[in-house]
């Protein structure tokens, strides 16, 4: 294993594979992986810096996983900890699955960014600060009583102080920019410096500058100069002694691009539309963190995508239902609060038995909660949030690129089984990015869709069922198949209004069986590790990366641990019960207080160990390793979960 950045500090004996002497006698050290975080004020352009660095690393052939973390306010009070916006990227010459528990290199554009991010920097890690932003006033805003750069706070790190503000202004000085405009280029200077340190190509970002600012040539030039100035600063300065190289990862052959979760979901929807031959109709209402799906699809008129920005969340789901009745691929997306408003509409879609996709990009709740922070606490809302017996299918993507496949799979289920399907994404998956192997559309299986035509001499029965218990999707415009559907209970077969109790019981059961049958279509549930034994870890949704990384660490130390990831939350896979029965302990890590755990325990009558976190951040690998080790060593969880704390409290 390569030594981390932290072991290459100026005073330590540097290890690693030295690839020769760099300019200014700087050593180049090869790393297997590294984690970098850009942190600054929410107006400092840190999301852009992180996105560009990620993109460049992906194009350079690394595997990447990102964690953008920003406040809900567009401009929180400047210089305060509340206003800090961060973007963390973990990139590797091997497969990486999490944004990294700890940061190897931190760029802090002001004291508040330093204060909030320093605890995550590994001892000995590289710390780059804009020294121009450390005035007494800046320090006070961040809550520092003394200057952390001078009082020993950062003694254990490789501190590199750079006059980023002054040097940026210098770089753009003859372009006629105001000071404010010049300072907006600081992020490009910081990027340039980090690019130099990690030997990243500049071309992708130069192309980005041209594309984004090309219409404002002065701004484009200023950003270009700031980027180059930062890069050259790295080359010429005496204070940085090492460069780090993370070679390309070995990935399956193909053409790759970097993709963000919400974009992958939008493209997956467009692909599903093509594969099924149904025009895509997307109805949404602006809400964080789902709005980027709306924005992406709104650009795609040329692919026949019809996007409707509704007056509210209820109208969005209602319009989608209307479009589905008309034969379109109907989709609505929101986050928790909006989904709560849509639930009555989803109940109507269950009764109408029309295909519909409902995307919930989960965020920390309840109520408005923490709108930009991630959580997985809407599983039970998706399962049970409606009145009456109202089952729907539920799927969850495990990573940004997986959003593409999930969208296609969800629509395949929706039309085959004539049912609403939930996709439970979350803020972490939605905003994160990773390399995506671009599929050929021709290689993706078609999604068969059938709209019935009249059969001479046979009455049309809108609620007749096929072998999957799905009813026919007859659409307006078809002669002789005129029918009326609605929220009132249907008579089995004819679909006429019926208040008959026996019929209601039959219909409730039919709807439940129809959704249960979806599991018959699943591929076998994959279990990695021993086929039976001490501990099985079950993950779902965005926790996949953290859990898989933790499992790999546990395997590396010879632990008896198996791993299975649930893509389908409802209905659960038919082989899951048997899989669970093969292990002494089952551990379920979730970013909630134990919602999947509750379902598994209720359904399979077996205890599971809950590992829960609701801090608006994904699991650290280390947290999961510790939780698993505690179970393996004592048969119990050592760490107190929220659930335990609550139970103890009530007792």
């Amino acid at each position: 294993m390569e030594p981390p950045i932290s072991s290459t500090s100026n005073n330590s004996a540097a290890g690693g594979a030295e690839k020769g002497q760099g300019v200014m006698e700087k050593r180049v050290i090869e790393l297997e992986e590294a984690t970098v975080r850009f942190a600054g004020d929410s107006g400092d352009g840190m999301q852009l810096a992180g996105t560009q660095f990620t993109h460049t690393s992906a194009v350079a052939g690394n595997d990447v996983v990102t964690f953008p973390d920003f406040p809900a306010e567009i401009r929180a009070p400047r210089g305060t900890k509340a206003g800090v916006s961060g973007f963390q990227v973990h990139f590797g010459a091997k497969r990486v699955y999490t944004p990294g528990d700890k940061v190897d290199a931190l760029v802090a554009m002001n004291p508040a960014a330093l204060a909030t991010s320093l605890p995550d920097l590994v001892p000995g890690g590289l710390l780059i600060v804009d020294i121009d932003s450390f005035s007494q006033r800046d320090l006070e805003l961040a809550g520092y009583k003394s200057n952390p750069l001078e009082d020993g706070t950062v003694a254990n790190y490789q501190l590199v102080t750079v006059e980023i503000t002054r040097l940026t202004r210098e770089a753009v000085k003859d372009l006629g920019l105001t000071t404010k405009e010049a300072d907006r280029c600081r992020n490009f200077f910081a990027m340039g410096l980090v690019y130099w340190i990690f030997d990243r190509p500049l071309e992708p970002t130069l192309r980005f500058i041209e594309a984004k600012f090309g219409k404002r040539p002065v701004i484009a030039e200023a950003n270009r100069r700031a980027l180059m100035a930062g890069y050259h600063y790295g080359e010429t300065t005496e204070v940085i002694h090492h460069r780090y190289v993370v070679p390309p990862v070995k990935l399956p052959p193909g053409t790759y691009r970097n993709i963000v979760g919400n974009q992958a979901l939008a493209w997956g929807l467009m692909a599903a539309s093509r594969l099924s031959g149904c025009d895509l109709f997307y109805a949404g209402y602006p809400i964080t963190p789902a709005s980027d799906i709306l924005h992406e699809l709104a650009l795609r008129r040329e692919f026949g995508v019809r996007v409707f920005q509704a007056e509210d969340e209820i109208a969005a789901v209602a319009a989608a239902i209307g479009a589905s009745f008309g034969g379109a691929m109907a989709v609505t997306a929101s986050s928790g609060p909006g989904i709560s408003l849509k639930l009555e509409g989803i109940g109507l879609a269950v009764m109408l038995e029309l295909p519909l996709l409902v995307i919930d990009v989960q965020r920390a709740g309840p109520s408005t909660g923490m709108p930009t922070k991630t959580e997985q606490a809407d599983l039970l809302q998706a399962m049970f949030g409606r009145h009456g017996e109202c089952p729907v299918a539920i799927l969850a993507p495990r990573s940004p690129a997986d959003c593409f496949d999930i969208a296609i799979e969800a629509w395949r289920i929706a039309v085959k089984h004539m049912t609403p399907v939930f996709i439970l994404s979350d803020a972490y998956v939605a905003n994160g990015s990773e390399p995506w192997r671009i599929p050929k559309m021709s290689s993706l299986p078609k999604i068969p869709v059938e709209h019935p035509q009249p059969v001479e001499g046979e009455p049309f029965l809108p609620y007749a069922r096929n072998e999957w218990l799905a009813r026919p999707w007859a659409i307006p415009g078809t002669p002789q198949l005129m029918h009326r559907i609605g929220g009132l209970e249907k008579q089995d077969g004819t679909g006429a209004v019926s208040y008959d109790g026996d019929n209601h019981q039959r219909m409730v059961e039919l709807r439940a069986k129809k959704v249960a049958l979806i599991a018959k279509d699943y591929p076998p549930q994959v279990v990695e590790g021993p086929k039976s034994g001490k501990l099985l870890i079950v993950s779902w949704g965005s926790t996949y990366g953290s859990v898989y990384s933790a499992v790999q660490e546990l395997w590396a130390t010879g632990q008896d641990v198996a791993f299975t990831h649930l893509r389908y939350l409802n209905p659960l896979p038919l082989d899951l019960e048997e899989i669970l029965s093969r292990y002494e302990h089952v551990m379920v890590p979730e970013l909630n207080l134990g919602q999947l755990a509750l379902l598994l325990q209720a359904k399979y009558l077996r205890p599971v160990h809950r590992v829960n976190k609701v801090k608006g951040r994904p699991f650290a690998v280390n947290e999961l390793v510790e939780a698993a080790l505690a179970i393996l060593e004592t048969g119990e969880k050592a760490s107190q979960t929220s659930e335990n704390v609550i139970v103890e409290y009530v007792k």
Binding site: R257, R301, A315, G345, R484, L488
Partner: protein
């Protein structure tokens, strides 16, 4: 429409639009008369049944789709305009009707009504106004008069009622009309006009609930007095009313007043109705004229042409596709921007 469909449509009678489902409104309900006129209108216009969709919310009026032999959705409370907007957005070829009531459309669904009107989706909206919640048995609705006792306000309704047409005009409606359930001929005329309008047509229909608010519109339906209480608007015609058509509406600036012909007042002094006025001010003033201070206008208040939402949406889609010449494939889109190749041997290249 194919020739066959045209011939088939031409042959249809009002009865062909009956679904065969037993109609379950109370005996004497005003809804029967409206259903009859709608079926007649469909037959008169020759709208093909398979191309026609009725969408409703919840309430007595919202049972309507079950009784017409077209496609239909009996939706959820208040949401019919939104359901219809989604359908019409993807299927501009369909004739989509929305059936709603004073509770469904003006209370729980008020927001959707405002926005469907503002968007001018090509729909025909019929709002059955009976000034009461009937299906839930007699609570106040947004159009119940102030002080009128109901089950939810036994000591008199405390709220000022909403004026459906003022609301519609304020929401930029392009077609606004009013009729009355028992005015069969007038209702048929208004429905035909509404169905033919390109854009959202909003029709308020005074409808009598025989059980929970019998006589709510008696002043407008009682043979003895109705001519004095109702003003039939006709485009290009003076606003005359009264048994002997000797009374009219004169405007002093924006303020209407009732005048009697004679004594120096001639027809030339009477305002002439212009439903096509680009400015909605006069239509709004007419909508403010209420019994007992004024005769209540019925007929078409406003009928102007504006681009429709569904038209604009599908035009944007068509333009975007045409702009490319040949359709761009999703493969092209996916490869836009920076990509990199990982060859078979696994050694990546930039």
């Amino acid at each position: 429409m194919s020739v066959d469909a045209l011939i088939e449509a031409a042959k249809l009678t009002p009865n062909d639009y009956a679904s065969g489902q037993e109609v379950r409104w109370c005996p004497g309900c005003g809804d029967y008369a409206i259903l009859a006129q709608v079926k007649k209108t469909l037959a008169n216009l020759g709208l093909p049944r398979e191309k026609t969709v009725f969408i409703s919310g919840i309430g007595c009026s919202s049972r309507f789709p079950y009784y017409v032999n077209t496609y239909g959705i009996h939706g959820i409370h208040g949401r019919a305009p939104a359901i219809a907007t989604g359908l019409k957005s993807v299927r501009p070829d369909l004739h989509v009707w929305v059936i709603t009531g004073d509770g469904d459309g003006l209370s729980i669904g008020g927001n959707h009504l405002i926005h469907v009107l503002r968007r001018n989706v090509d729909l025909t909206i019929l709002l059955f106004n009976n000034r009461i919640y009937g299906l839930t048995k007699g609570q106040s609705s947004p159009t119940t008069p102030l002080g009128h006792p109901t089950k939810s306000n036994p000591f008199g309704t405390l709220e000022h009622p909403v004026n459906a047409l003022s609301l519609a005009i304020g929401a930029e409606a392009t077609f606004v009309a009013r009729s009355i359930d028992v005015y069969q001929k007038h209702l048929g005329m208004v429905l035909e006009r509404a169905a033919a309008h390109k854009g959202t047509s909003f029709v308020e229909i005074y409808q009598n609930c025989v059980v929970f608010y019998d006589g709510a519109w008696e002043y407008a339906t009682d043979r003895q007095v109705k001519e004095d209480h109702v003003l039939e608007l006709e485009h290009g015609k003076p606003m005359l009313f009264g048994k002997n058509r000797n009374k009219g509406i004169r405007f002093r600036g924006c303020v209407p007043e009732i005048v009697e012909l004679g004594d120096g007042v001639t027809e030339a002094d009477i305002a002439v109705h212009d439903e096509k006025a680009a400015d909605p001010t006069v239509a709004y003033v007419l909508s403010r004229m209420r019994y007992p201070d004024f005769p209540e206008p019925i007929g078409v208040f406003r009928a102007v042409e504006h681009p429709t939402y569904d038209g604009l949406l599908n035009e944007q889609v068509a333009k975007a596709i045409a702009a490319r010449g040949e359709p761009r494939s999703l493969d092209d889109l996916f490869h836009e921007g920076d990509t990199w190749e990982v060859p078979e041997d696994g050694a990546p290249s930039r």
